[in-house]
C-alpha cells in the first residue's frame, strides 16, 4: 500500500513566519532605541524601521495562522487540500512579495499608510494569493460532512473579512475617500479595526482547535458557548471599531454605538472570572506541555488586555489615552501576549504531535526559561508603555519635547524590556524552527524513499 503523500506546506508557512517574527522584533528593538536616541543608526530612519517592524510582525501572525490551517486540515482533519499546488503558489507569492516589500522599505519607497506602508501596487499579489487561499479553503471544506465546528467558521470568517478589510484599506486610492479628512480617517480606522478582528478570527480559531486537541474535549468546538463567543466576536469585529474614532468628527451616533458594542465585552470578562479556579486546575494537569503553557499565557494576557480594552473604550478615559502609548500597550498585549502566544502554542502542538520525544527532550529547559523571560519582559514592557501613555495623556505643557522628557524614563524601561522580550522569544523561535525543519526534512526523506 502506498501511503498518502503528506501535505506539509503548512510547516513552510510556519517556518517563514518564525523568521519574520525574529526579524520583526529586531527592527522593533532598533526603533525603540531610535525613539530614545534619535541619532542612533541614522542610516536607517525611524520611518523605515517602523514599517519593517510592523510588516514583519503582521506577516508572522498571518503566516503562522495560515500555516496552521493548511496543516491541520490536511494532516489532522482528514481533509486533503483541494489544491496542493495552489497552497504552494500561495506560499511563494508571499515569499516573493514579502522580499519586494522589505526592499521597498530599505529603498525608502512608501505609500505612507498605517499597516500597509509599502507601495500600493504590492497589495495586488497579496490580494490574489489570498483569493487562492480562500478558494482552496472553502473547496477543501467541501469534503467535510456534517456541521462545521466553530473553528472552521472562524477560519472562514477570518479569510472573508481579510478580503473585505484589505480592500477597504485601499479605498483611499479613490479621491472620494482621500479628499475628505473625516471619511479618510474614519474609514482607515474601520478597515484596520476590522482587519485585526479578521486575523484574530484565524488566531482564535487556531487556539480553540489546539486547546480541544490537547485537552481531548473536541466536542466543545460545537458547543453553544463556543458559537456564542464566536458571534459576539464577529459582532465586535463589525461594529466595535469606532471606539478608535471618538475624537474624529463623524456622526456622533457611530461613536456612541461603538461604546455600547465595546461594553458587551464585560460579558466575557465576567466569564473569565467565573472560570478562573477551574482553569488553574487544567493548567496543573497540562503544565508540562509547551503548547498548553503558551495557551495559558495567552489566557492571562487576554484577561489583562480585556480590562485595558474596556477602560480605553470608555470615551471619558479614551480622552486621555487616545493617541498615547497606552494604545501601543494594548496593541503589544494583543499581538505578542495573545496572538503570538497562541501561535507558538500552535507551532509547539504540531511539534508535539510529530516529534513527541523532542517536545519533552533536549531544548525543553531553555524553552521553559525563555518562556518566562519573554512573559516577564512583556509584563514590564506593557507596564512601561501604560505609564508612558499616562505621562503623555496627562501632560499639560505646550511643548512636545517637554512631554518626551517627562516620559523618557518609562521609554528607557520599555526599550530595555524589549530586548529581554526579543531574546526570550528568539530562543523559543530558534528551537521551534529547528524542530519544524527536522519534521519537514524527515517527511521529505520518507517521500523520497517511497518514490525511490
Amino acid at each position: 500500500m502506498i501511503a498518502r503523500q503528506r501535505d506539509l506546506i503548512g510547516l513552510d508557512f510556519m517556518r517563514l513566519g518564525i523568521l519574520a517574527l525574529a526579524a520583526g522584533m529586531f527592527f522593533g528593538v532598533i526603533g525603540s532605541f531610535q525613539f530614545l536616541f534619535p541619532d542612533f543608526l541614522r542610516e536607517l530612519l525611524f520611518a523605515q524601521t517602523r514599517p519593517l517592524h510592523v510588516s514583519l510582525v503582521i506577516s508572522w501572525i498571518f503566516l503562522a495562522s495560515v500555516g496552521g490551517i493548511y496543516f491541520y486540515l490536511a494532516e489532522q482533519c482528514n481533509l486533503p487540500l483541494w489544491s496542493k499546488r495552489g497552497a504552494r503558489v500561495h506560499f511563494w507569492v508571499f515569499v516573493v512579495t514579502g522580499l519586494v516589500i522589505l526592499s521597498s522599505y530599505f529603498a525608502g519607497k512608501f505609500s505612507g499608510r498605517e499597516y500597509f506602508e509599502f507601495p500600493a501596487a504590492l497589495s495586488i499579489p497579496i490580494f490574489l494569493s489570498w483569493i487562492l487561499f480562500g478558494v482552496n479553503y472553502f473547496n477543501t471544506l467541501r469534503g467535510h460532512h456534517g456541521p462545521w465546528p466553530v473553528y472552521y467558521w472562524m477560519w472562514g470568517t477570518g479569510i472573508v473579512f481579510f478580503f473585505i478589510t484589505f480592500s477597504e484599506a485601499y479605498l483611499w486610492l479613490i479621491p472620494y475617500f482621500r479628499q475628505n479628512m473625516v471619511r479618510e480617517i474614519t474609514v482607515q480606522w474601520k478597515a484596520y479595526g476590522a482587519l485585526t478582528g479578521s486575523w484574530n478570527m484565524l488566531v482564535y480559531g487556531t487556539a480553540i482547535y489546539v486547546a480541544g486537541r490537547i485537552t481531548g474535549k473536541q466536542d466543545a468546538a460545537r458547543s453553544k458557548l463556543a458559537y456564542s463567543m464566536y458571534f459576539l466576536g464577529l459582532f465586535n469585529l463589525m461594529f466595535g471599531w469606532a471606539h478608535h474614532t471618538y475624537p474624529v468628527p463623524s456622526q456622533p451616533w457611530i461613536r456612541t454605538l461603538a461604546y455600547a458594542v465595546s461594553m458587551t465585552e464585560l460579558l466575557i470578562l465576567g466569564k473569565i472570572l467565573w472560570d478562573w479556579r477551574r482553569k488553574l486546575d487544567d493548567y496543573q494537569k497540562h503544565r508540562q506541555c509547551h503548547a498548553y503553557r503558551f495557551l495559558y499565557a495567552a489566557d492571562i494576557w487576554i484577561f489583562i488586555n480585556l480590562i485595558l480594552a474596556l477602560l480605553i473604550s470608555v470615551p471619558a478615559i479614551n480622552l486621555v489615552t487616545h493617541g498615547t502609548h497606552i494604545t501601543v500597550a494594548h496593541a503589544m498585549g494583543s499581538t505578542i501576549g495573545i496572538n503570538t502566544m497562541i501561535l507558538l502554542a500552535s507551532v509547539f502542538y504540531v511539534i508535539r504531535e510529530q516529534r513527541p520525544q523532542q517536545d519533552r527532550g533536549a531544548g525543553s529547559k531553555p524553552i521553559t526559561v525563555a518562556y518566562w523571560v519573554a512573559n516577564i519582559s512583556l509584563g514590564i514592557f506593557f507596564t512601561a508603555l501604560i505609564f508612558a501613555g499616562l505621562g503623555k495623556g496627562l501632560y499639560h505643557g505646550a511643548s512636545f519635547q517637554g512631554m518626551m522628557l517627562t516620559i523618557r524614563p518609562w521609554l528607557l524601561v520599555f526599550a530595555l524590556s524589549g530586548i529581554g522580550l526579543m531574546l526570550g522569544l528568539w530562543v523559543v523561535l530558534w528551537h521551534a524552527f529547528r524542530l519544524l525543519t527536522r519534521i519537514s526534512s524527515t517527511a521529505a526523506n520518507a517521500a523520497a524513499n517511497q518514490t525511490g
Binding site: 505612507g112 498605517e114 487556539a207 486547546a211 458571534f231 464577529l234 477551574r278 499581538t335
Partner: protein, 168 residues
C-alpha cells in the same frame, strides 16, 4: 512606538475554559441553519452600516474642497511616510507631535521652519519651497476639519464626552 496594532474589541474570553463547557446538545442540524441565519443577518447589517459610514456618516464638514496644492501635500505626506512619526486625529506614530491642528495652534511659520530644516528628531527631507507650501496647504486643510485633542468638552455620568468644539 505607535498605535498600529490598534486596540480592537475581539476577545473570546478565556480560551481553554471554552472546553470545560462541552455540552451534549448535539442538535447540530437545526443549529447549522441558525448559525447561517445569524451570520447572514449580521453581514447584512454590517454592509448597511458600512455604506452609511462611507457616505452620510462621514460627510465633509469643511466647506472648501481639497485643492490641488493640498492634494500634492497629501501625496508628499504619504510618500515620505510622515505617518511613521506623526499622527492625525491620534492615528500614526509617536516620534513627533500630532499634526491635526498644528497650523492653528502653532502657526504656519513654525510648521514651515520644521519642514525646511528638520530637527534633531526629524530628518531634513530637503523639501523645495513648493513642496513646503504644498505640505502646509495639506495641514491647513486637515486643520479645518475639527479639533484634536479636544479642548472644550463635557463628560456625562455615562462616561460619554460631548465636545463643544466638535463641528458636528
Amino acid at each position: 512606538m505607535e498605535p498600529f496594532f490598534v486596540a480592537f474589541p475581539l476577545h473570546y474570553g478565556n480560551l481553554t475554559s471554552v472546553f470545560r463547557h462541552a455540552d451534549n446538545d448535539a442538535s447540530h442540524g437545526s443549529s447549522l441553519i441558525a448559525h447561517r441565519t445569524i451570520f447572514a443577518a449580521l453581514f447584512l447589517l454590517f454592509s448597511a452600516y458600512s455604506a452609511y459610514v462611507y457616505t452620510a456618516g462621514t460627510k465633509a464638514l469643511n466647506a472648501e474642497p481639497m485643492n490641488d496644492r493640498a492634494r500634492h501635500g497629501q501625496q508628499l505626506f504619504q510618500r515620505n511616510n510622515c505617518t511613521a512619526c506623526h499622527q492625525i486625529y491620534g492615528l500614526g506614530g509617536y516620534m513627533g507631535p500630532d499634526l491635526t491642528n498644528v497650523i492653528s495652534r502653532r502657526g504656519r511659520a513654525y510648521a514651515s521652519a520644521f519642514l525646511a530644516a528638520g530637527t534633531q528628531r526629524m530628518p531634513n527631507f530637503h523639501f523645495k519651497q513648493a513642496e513646503i507650501s504644498a505640505l502646509l496647504a495639506y495641514l491647513d486643510f486637515v486643520d479645518a476639519t475639527g479639533t484634536y485633542p479636544p479642548t472644550n468638552y463635557h463628560i456625562s455620568w455615562l462616561g460619554t464626552v460631548s465636545q463643544a468644539d466638535d463641528p458636528r
